[in-house]
Symmetry: C2
Subunit: 478 residues, 2 copies
Amino acid sequence: MSTTPAPDNDVRAYVSAHRDGFLGELAEWIRIPSVSADPERAGDVRRSAEWLAAKLRETGFPVAEVWETAGLPAVFAEWRAAEPDAPTVLVYGHHDVQPAARADGWRTEPFEATPSDDGARLYGRGAADDKGQVFFHTLGLKAHLHATGRSAPAVHLKLLIEGEEESGSPNFPALLHERADRLAADTVIVSDTGMWAADTPTVCTGMRGLIDGQIDLYGPDQDIHSGSFGGAVPNPATEAARLAAALHDADGRVAIPGFYDGVVALTDRERELFAELPFDEESWLRTAHSHGAGGEAGYSTLERIWARPTAEVNGIGGGYQGPGGKTIIPSAAQLKLSFRLVAGQDPEKVQQAVRDWVAARIPHGIRHELDFFGATRPCLTPLDDPALQALVRAMSKAFDGAKIRFTREGGSGPAADLQDVLGAPVLFLGISVPSDGWHAPNEKVETDLLMKGAEAAAHLWGELAAGTRTAGGEEVQQ
Amino acid sequence: MSTTPAPDNDVRAYVSAHRDGFLGELAEWIRIPSVSADPERAGDVRRSAEWLAAKLRETGFPVAEVWETAGLPAVFAEWRAAEPDAPTVLVYGHHDVQPAARADGWRTEPFEATPSDDGARLYGRGAADDKGQVFFHTLGLKAHLHATGRSAPAVHLKLLIEGEEESGSPNFPALLHERADRLAADTVIVSDTGMWAADTPTVCTGMRGLIDGQIDLYGPDQDIHSGSFGGAVPNPATEAARLAAALHDADGRVAIPGFYDGVVALTDRERELFAELPFDEESWLRTAHSHGAGGEAGYSTLERIWARPTAEVNGIGGGYQGPGGKTIIPSAAQLKLSFRLVAGQDPEKVQQAVRDWVAARIPHGIRHELDFFGATRPCLTPLDDPALQALVRAMSKAFDGAKIRFTREGGSGPAADLQDVLGAPVLFLGISVPSDGWHAPNEKVETDLLMKGAEAAAHLWGELAAGTRTAGGEEVQQ
Ligand SMILES: [Zn+2]
Ligand SMILES: [Zn+2]
């Protein structure tokens, strides 16, 4: 690389100086109600894409295009480094937002952007998820150029900002496959997650995968009388319950043979680092709206939600569910299950293990059908990955040299599609905090953290370019 | 008793001679659509009660009254024997019927009474359940008087014909309590069941009892995301399933401690007699609309449905039940259970056993509520009961000396209320056969069997009067 890394204070000074202008533009974007789930907002989602493409061109991206899909449009932008051998980085985010209405409990207009009196927070749908976290990349990139004196980023930089993430990304895999050549990258940076807390900066190192599906069980051809027949024929509601109850053993482990095959175990170091996080179970339970913690024996709550595969009953139904009683043996019952997967598990193999397990447990007299809705692979970056180390260094600079800790994401998302289709490792750069209220009324973002995000992005391109040079030559122990 | 029992052929001759008139009057009754479940038919239910009371007066009953309830009216009639020390017998049946509409698959008008071409069958709603079986008592009583030359029955005869049986008899227990003095009886004869088959006359010796209720399980205060929280908090749908799955052990026995306390075991003789019945499992499965038999180990299908207590899941529900998937941990789940009880089980003790068992199984973090809808006691007459023996002799005379076998009824009904409130043993005199299609389209009754029912009733009053004389003095082995 041809330039000297700039002193940190150049980045910070630039970001601070442009804070108000940045927040003003973000507010403009928040005012576009780009709700992908609402067909009446399709025009707004398009307007949001066009607004973003224009802003990216203003930022300096030589290429900034609205990409059509079978559904709502995405935005693609590209700015190549001067150095042909620089690594290629793809930033992922989304410009669509969750639905929001004042009546849901918002104290401000959701599609206004309303600062708190002290300016520390900006309220509005998408402030954190994901417009704020996409948009800080524009400020970060300008700070990067300014502080390094470059006229192009230190990496070949691409952005792909989806328009249907809040609707389950139905057309995203197809888009990735179709545009795989233009999207090719060495590293993917997903900016659609968060940190542990404002005073505990963290980097997410992986997401769980997911398979989910439905088992239909059929017994008698019609509901039959439990007096006349009770006790002498199999009951599909009982069989659905037996399947659900047999999912876990007494230790809370998933009891399906083969389920854990290949699971990448937590390292001692990862467990130590998780344990160092200031976790308060009571406050976590409040976030979970739950009244007790419990799960796989031998693991902490954080390990259970971040690093262990699970089986959950999402729905169960069969027979009479109205008021009072009805003494029937139901004709049919249904079970909706989801399985979160972790690195090392192959969704298709787990699907087969579930199929085999279910088939072996269905008794004579019951017919069953099993359908899977989809499969999302897990992703995980090892702690010693050079690109992850570069991200940690960039975050640490933004957070005044603070120790950067590691989290994972228990959910599952398009990150895995990016990893799979592009064949590139996925890193997560996010500065949102749990109190930001994703998908809830009164979503907000901490404006100081938006600036930290911009700073981290400003540092990241240089760190990645440098990290790539040294990759393999330096043993990083974290 | 002052009279000599008449030769059988007098009864048969009388019944045969009055067959056509009897069927004509029954048809008139069937044309009154006394559907208790349909509020728009309330007037027809009343018309049915008044029609029946008038017919009973015509038959000769000095007392025949329409009795009001909080719901639809019942009919009460009384005709005392000349002998003050004669036993008192109460006949129970119902004059209301199940709903029926041509569109449900009826080949004839359900509220017409349509004979088959050969006259062997009479089609119409209520033909078997229960108008035909109530009405044969009028013909039987007249035959009894004619054949014995009596001017009053050999027993103090009472009839109580309910108007809400097909709606769950909501006001029946209250009516029994209110009118207990007028209803007092030594023996109750329920004519609202059937026989094994036209060529296998049987007498039912008991009904199972019933408790049913609902368990509500509450987990998170709202549905929560299975990605963010899955594997770390208890899931109420899983817990509902675990309860349902734990109801039975591997042998199909109910696994609730104390459930079997007091259960009157089948005697070897009862088991032998059940085993002698010409039971065809394939045809039984067709009746059950089921594709496999199964239940408590060590018992036959008939034993399971007639003589063993059971636990059944009538309904289960929780979480997402719409199309496709939704990756949630549901906030709540619900389980509707019913337990059939057999002689020796106390419904209230079983309810307590269920409460204790559920409470002990609910994990930390789940709240539950358990409500029972009701409790019906089981009833069972020992094979050596003198009144049962009298009924067997009466049936045998009607069926040309055929061996009368024994069945039980797996369902639960007002018979138990009669037994409990009146403190009298309950016997079952019914001639309906499984193909009669109770509660189904194209309900019918076999007209020859109606005549057998009338003959059995005609013989029964003398047998009961005689049986009561010899009760305790004669050891009957059947
Ligand atoms: Zn998002
Ligand atoms: Zn009936």
